[in-house]
């Protein structure tokens, strides 16, 4: 009964109602797109950055995070990697030996991180194998081969086919020395990696660094960051069974995680402002209409309606208006976002600049229930709460006075 009345009231002033609905719809649609876009960009940024080298999560020897030395090693990485690959959402688990050594080519020498890798698994996890600028990536049958970053190669003055000498400390404290042939030079776009990382075959690294069959870390990859994130509980159980530690992407890249949190926080301020402005515009309209309708309310009271019922009716009008606006906004905003999610968005920004931040040139929004409903939901809630304000005024009305109002 109240709802029917409210609905009829809404369309007594179709122009005003439509304007309010439209402003709610536009802002809702905008919020759907912006949130989805933000999620999409950060998601791509995370995935691109993590896929270069880290992987989406990592198993590592206990104590390795605090003291990344060869001493903190996983004794049986092969079987743990095999079990990790069985976790739903994890498609590849790549054991690595992480050593530290001086690389030398003639009189030139530089300190570098030497990573022993399984070439086949690495190709499914890291994008370094696809970012080879000269030569080729490591292959299964390689023994004394290495790939180095372009900056490291330049510093050492070594090209494809050249030899680098490696000198470091093995796990048992003895000297780890080896001569490797550079098969390929990669360019990851991350200067820190390009300047400091040499990859060599895992087995050779295990021999050189006296690791037996051990490894320091097992990098984990999957079809998407989300799929690996969803596998974290299973991986955590595996880690505690196997006596190793699990690190998720936030722990591996805390700076990136913090940066994204900060960006969400600052844009949240903007969203709150947007929601408040629209809510106030709609409420302003409501207050005006309540004032205008004082006579009408007096009449309804004279007919026997209680003030609470009248206030409820006005509130339902407002809720209906907000619901319609939000629904239209979600539908149109969602449709546009969904379409852009298929075709991508290209901004006229220098691709090299974007590469620095791990952002690809073509950006894809990522529509989810959360990104579609959070903004419009907040807007509807703000309007619903603000709509309680006229209650006080309506409750104070008396039929006689109200009917005499202008």
């Amino acid at each position: 009964m109240l709802a029917a009345l409210a609905w009829r009231n809404l369309w007594r002033r179709p122009q005003r109602t439509l304007l309010s609905v439209l402003s709610v719809a536009i802002v809702s649609g905008l919020l759907v797109f912006i949130l989805s876009f933000q999620n999409g960009v950060y998601g791509q940024m995370k995935e691109t950055t993590l896929r270069i080298f880290d992987g989406y999560a990592e198993l590592q020897a206990n104590g390795y995070a605090d003291d990344p030395s060869l001493d903190h090693a996983i004794a049986d990485p092969a079987s743990i990697a095999q079990q990790a690959q069985k976790a739903r959402g994890v498609s590849v688990a790549a054991p690595r030996v992480n050593g530290f050594a001086i690389l030398a080519n003639g009189p030139r020498s530089y300190a570098a991180v030497v990573i022993g890798v399984d070439p086949d698994r690495e190709a499914r996890l890291s994008s370094i194998p696809t970012r080879i600028e000269a030569g080729r990536y490591l292959q299964h049958a390689d023994t004394d081969s290495a790939v180095v970053g372009d900056l490291l190669a330049k510093n050492l003055g070594v090209g494809v086919g050249g030899k680098v000498t490696m000198l470091g400390s093995a796990r048992d404290g003895s000297v780890a020395a080896d001569v490797l042939q550079v098969r390929g030079i990669y360019h990851s776009g991350i200067p820190d990696l390009d300047r400091s990382i040499l990859e060599m075959p895992l087995q050779r690294a295990q021999v050189t660094f006296q690791m037996q069959d051990a490894a320091n870390t097992i990098a984990l990859g999957g079809p998407s960051l989300n799929s690996v994130d969803r596998a974290l509980p299973a991986l955590r159980a595996l880690a505690s069974r196997a006596g190793v530690a699990l690190r998720d992407w936030q722990q591996m890249e805390p700076a990136m995680s913090d940066e994204i949190d900060l960006k969400y926080l600052t844009s949240l301020l903007f969203y709150v402002a947007l929601v408040l402005v629209v809510a106030f515009i709609v409420l302003n309209t409501l207050l005006m209409s309540v004032l205008e309708r004082t006579r009408e309310f007096g009449m309804l009271m004279a007919l026997g309606m209680r003030p609470g019922q009248i206030a409820g009716m006005v509130w339902i009008e407002l809720l209906a208006l907000a619901a319609i606006g939000c629904a239209i906004g979600v539908a149109i905003g969602g449709a546009i976002t969904f379409w852009l999610q298929q075709v991508g968005v290209v901004f006229p920004i220098d691709p090299k600049l974007l590469e620095q931040f791990g952002i690809p040139t073509r950006l894809y929004p990522s529509l989810s229930a959360l990104s579609a409903l959070a903004g419009p939901g907040a807007l509807a809630a703000a309007i619903a709460i603000g709509g309680l304000v006229p209650f006080g005024r309506i409750r104070r009305l008396t039929p006689a006075l109200a009917m005499r109002a202008a």
Binding site: D71, F100, I102, A104, P107, S109, Y110, A111, T165, L167, S169, A170, D172, G173, S174, V175, A177, D178, V179
Partner: protein, 250 residues
């Protein structure tokens, strides 16, 4: 009579070495370095590296020349024999027999562990920094084992390229190091070298057993025991050359 007394007193004062009355921190430190390494030295040592899961014993021969140059050769175990480190002034090279190659250490490696021990290359190559890059003051003295022991605090000079926040040394009155504590930039003690035995060696009192303890790793230490040392015997100049590093003549 009073005149002669004054004169005598003056003469006595002049004849007395300055340190006996009022030793300066700089002088105490310099004499301890001189006692430790003399103009040049040849020594034979053994180094024990202790870790929670393993322990290694290494044989070492070392030569020093002046304040800046040093050659260290490993003689045992077989896996490490032949490895050598040469330091000339600020430059450090290492030789590895398996590679048969001399490699100059990049500056970024100097803070790394030296041959897997708790000493860094810096301990070898920057030992002189303690004199030249720090200011020194006496912060205390005590009596121990019939000797006076000075505590000297060394603070980095402004802008000095050093890694420690400060270093506190304990030096006996016969110029023997007793203890050395290294503080990080937050002024927390990071590692401590203790002298576990002092004996007469090469005709002087000498810290024959020294142990370096990284203070954040309780079950980890490196001990150096000097079994033989000769001081101020002239060493041939070819000893401190890159070609001798790679192809030892002796």
């Amino acid at each position: 009579m009073p005149r002669r007394l004054v004169l005598t007193l003056c003469l006595v004062a002049a004849a007395t070495p300055a340190w006996a009355a009022q030793p300066s921190a700089d002088a105490i430190l310099q004499r301890a370095f001189d006692n430790y390494r003399a103009k040049n030295s040849q020594s034979t040592l053994s180094m024990t590296i202790h870790r929670p899961t393993w322990e290694r014993h290494m044989g070492v021969r070392a030569w020093t020349r002046g304040a800046g140059d040093a050659l260290v050769r490993f003689t045992a175990p077989a896996a490490d024999a032949g490895n050598a480190t040469l330091k000339l002034g600020n430059d450090t090279w290492v030789y590895n027999p398996k590679l048969n190659q001399v490699i100059k250490l990049p500056a970024s490696m100097l803070s790394q562990a030296w041959m897997g021990s708790d000493f860094s290359y810096n301990d070898l190559s920057k030992s002189e920094d303690l004199i030249s890059q720090y200011t020194h003051r006496i912060v205390g003295s005590e009596q121990a084992g019939g000797h006076a022991v000075w505590s000297i605090e060394a603070d980095p000079k402004p802008g000095a390229p050093v890694v420690w926040g400060k270093v506190v040394l304990k030096i006996r009155d016969d110029s023997v190091f007793v203890e050395e504590t290294f503080y990080d930039q937050d002024m927390k003690p990071a590692r401590r070298m203790t002298v576990d035995r002092i004996a007469s060696l090469g005709g002087r009192p000498y810290p024959v057993v020294m142990t370096m303890h990284p203070l954040d790793q309780p079950n980890q230490w490196t001990q150096v025991q000097t079994s033989d040392a000769r001081f101020d015997v002239s060493a041939p100049a070819y000893l401190f050359t890159l070609s001798n590093l790679q192809n030892p003549r002796s």
